[in-house]
């Protein structure tokens, strides 16, 4: 272990096997110390950023029915919905009034929506001052199927409509062993990475996410990190990495999972991500994932960003998880932790220091 720690201190890249060993046997505080060391090498000052954003989920109709999801509905369900472009415009106007920086726009995979719906959405919503951060890879894949265009062509159309960044959702765990069991109908690892690569090649920046704490093993987690690290080597298009722990209420997978992700599990993942992802600038600590207390501590485990404000959040809420906060509260947490809060853009540029 000592050799492994030395290697990290020297800034050397860890192999997959070393990552697994670190996750299995690494000392909790040592992981924090090393992750912090790397964080301060990349970001020498104590600034911790976050973004004022809102989530817009344009539809909850989704045919893939992932076992971990409490949000999706069949199109005939009573509470199934799809927002019209007009309704979406109202939402973005409201966000604009609230001074929101970015709208994270994602939805279910609703096969009945025409290709034009997505392009119109981007075109219309991009007219506002709110940055449109839309469509995770599974949605892009669906657009390619319904339009019978290639991924590249779809991305070019979206880009021409005004899209400049896309979120990193739908990654879950980028290991086929896990995906086949929890989301067999969702795009596979190779496809997820391919879409991200095409986007990066077109100058569209993205993030990478991971949802852990269900049936995955330590090996699966490290495989996930190595997969995104490898692509980042080629494209440098990932802006940030964000890990979430699985929420088990109201979904099929929850019944199959007995374990509960602890604060310690979460902090280890934040630290390991910082250590493994040596080519990522930003690692998020989500205060909404494990609560504000653990989120605050995570800033000492290698994270340099507190994610978003989530003015409207629907997906986790369906899974029995509600988190609300204010700019003041998040700034306070960051200050109390010893860091300096700043609001940022989706592109990780500072809007203002608080």
């Amino acid at each position: 272990m000592i050799e492994l720690y030395k290697k990290i201190e020297n800034g050397e890249r860890l192999t997959k096997d070393e990552g697994v060993k670190l996750l299995k046997e690494g000392d909790f505080l040592k992981l924090g110390e090393l992750a912090n060391l790397i964080r301060f090498r990349k970001h020498p000052n104590k600034t911790v950023t976050f973004i004022l954003d809102t989530n817009i989920n344009y539809t909850n109709v989704c045919y893939v029915g992932c076992s971990f999801c409490a949000f999706y509905r069949n199109k005939d369900d009573k509470d199934a919905y799809t927002l019209t472009i007009e309704e979406l415009k109202e939402k973005i106007e409201e966000a604009e009034k609230n001074g929101v920086e970015t709208a994270l726009i994602q939805g279910g995979l609703n096969t009945e929506l025409p290709y034009s719906y997505y392009l119109d959405m981007v075109k219309e919503l991009s007219k506002s001052s709110v940055h449109v951060h839309a469509f995770s890879p599974p949605e892009i894949d669906l657009m390619s199927k319904i339009s019978k265009k290639s991924i590249k062509e779809v991305l070019i159309d979206l880009k021409n409509a005004g899209l400049t960044t896309i979120p990193g959702g739908g990654a879950e765990i980028l290991s086929e062993r896990v995906r086949k069991r929890i989301s067999p109908k969702k795009i596979d690892t190779a496809r997820w990475l391919e879409i991200m690569e095409e986007a990066h090649n077109l100058g569209i920046k993205t993030t990478a996410t991971m949802m852990f704490g269900h049936i995955e093993t330590d090996e699966d987690i490290i495989e996930h990190l190595c997969n995104v690290r490898k692509l980042q080597d080629r494209t440098n298009g990932f802006r940030a990495f964000i890990a979430w722990d699985f929420k088990k209420e109201n979904n099929e997978l929850g019944k199959r999972v007995d374990r509960v992700t602890s604060g310690i599990d979460y902090l280890k993942i934040v630290a390991i991500s910082r250590i493994m992802l040596d080519n990522f600038d930003n690692i998020q600590a989500s205060w909404a994932s494990q609560g504000k207390d653990v989120g605050e501590v995570a800033l000492h485990f290698g994270a340099n960003d507190m994610g978003s404000m989530l003015i409207e959040e629907n997906v986790m809420r369906q899974a029995g998880f509600r988190a609300e906060s204010t700019v003041e509260e998040i700034s306070n947490i960051i200050r109390k932790s010893g860091f300096e809060p700043a609001l940022r853009t989706t592109d990780y540029k500072i809007v203002k220091y608080l």
Binding site: S262, D293, V294, E296, V297, K336
Partner: protein, 357 residues
């Protein structure tokens, strides 16, 4: 002197001074503070983390003290004012599954129960459950009982010990600062009396605990002073088993509008600092009821070697808006400790090992 120099001092078993303590509390380097505190913990209890299968009993919420930070007390006319009779208490304990090792008893300062009520409480529990350790009454209650009958502290404690009192909790210490006491709990005994009760208890071979209530209006200097005072009592009259830092929960108290609940990083720092200063205390507790189970578990890496117990029906902190569960199952305790990378050890009230998991 930086944290490295403090770490060096501790490595060679030198005590730290007030300046070092200030350095620790004001330091940015949370992880380093944790590592120092954990190294002290490792010397005391290696990788073990203790828990106890216990039951909390808060026998009344009537209280003549009316402290400003308290959400638990009632005056008597309220709908939710209550006082448990001895039979109620016996019944509550009898409801617990087999294997319970300790009852932790604290209550308000009841306006008119006689001293015999408290003596009977202890002797009745002992009569019905001879294997259960009765850990009862804070120094504040002992002081109050002594006044009821015009007894000295020593006579009061002896009577209770003869009735079966095994050990005492560490509550009522709050912060040993006269400035804070006058503002928040003027009717509560000052430091000198709290210390006297514990010293006499120790001399009567009644082991006790000690606490600190922080995160309200106290300063860092007052926290540090409190810890050094406890260290001195333990030096002079050893008998403390465990120290428990308690973070203040402002909801439903008159302070709720002016004070925010203390943040997690401060909680971890105070926990670590107490492990470092109180090097003559065998154990430091990360009390999950106050800290939340999540921060309590993280606290095990910040010097704590005890996570209290299963508890069942804690009332005082929950009256002040604590969001932690009312009780945790034994399996949960074991799982939490293992998940943190430590060895769970079920203990009795006196830290005798019952079972290593």
């Amino acid at each position: 002197m930086g944290l490295d120099a403090i770490e060096e001092k501790i490595k060679y078993g030198e005590p730290i001074d007030i300046k070092d303590a200030k350095e620790i509390l004001s330091s940015f380097d949370l992880i380093k503070i944790g590592k120092i505190a954990r190294s002290v913990k490792y010397k005391k209890s290696d990788k073990k983390v203790y828990f106890v299968f216990n039951k909390h009993i808060n026998y009344t919420n009537l209280c003549v003290s009316k402290c400003k930070f308290c959400a638990f007390y009632r005056n008597g006319e309220e709908d939710d004012a209550y006082t448990m009779e001895i039979d109620d208490i016996i019944e509550e304990i009898a409801k617990m599954p087999k294997g319970i090792r300790e009852v932790h008893i604290v209550g308000g300062l009841h306006p008119n129960k006689p001293f015999s009520y408290y003596v009977d409480m202890v002797s009745s529990i002992k009569k019905h459950f001879k294997d259960i350790n009765v850990k009862a009454f804070t120094a504040v209650e002992i002081d109050y009982f002594s006044k009821l009958e015009g007894l000295s502290y020593e006579e009061t404690l002896k009577t209770l010990k003869d009735a079966g009192l095994d050990s005492m909790p560490g509550g009522g210490a709050e912060v040993f600062s006269e400035r804070v006491r006058k503002k928040l709990y003027p009717n509560k005994i000052p430091y000198e009396k709290w210390a006297e009760v514990h010293k006499i208890a120790h001399s009567l071979k009644i082991p006790t605990n000690a606490t600190l209530l922080f995160g309200h209006i106290e300063t860092d200097d007052e926290i540090i002073d409190h810890l050094f005072k406890l260290r001195k009592i333990q030096e002079e009259t050893p008998g403390f088993l465990c120290f428990i830092p308690l973070s203040f929960h402002p909801s439903n108290t008159p302070l709720e509008k002016t004070i925010e609940k203390v943040d997690a990083v401060k909680e971890l720092k105070v926990l670590a600092l107490s492990r470092i200063i109180l090097d003559n205390f065998p154990h430091i507790k990360a009390y999950w009821v106050m800290l939340s189970p999540k921060i309590g578990q993280i606290g095990l890496h910040f010097g704590a070697d005890d996570i209290d117990g299963t508890i069942g029906q804690e009332r005082v902190t929950h009256a002040a808006g604590a969001k932690s569960p009312l009780g945790l199952a034994k399996d949960n305790m074991v799982g939490m400790i293992k998940n943190a990378g430590f060895i769970p050890v079920e203990r009795d009230a006196l830290y005798n090992e019952i079972r290593v998991y």
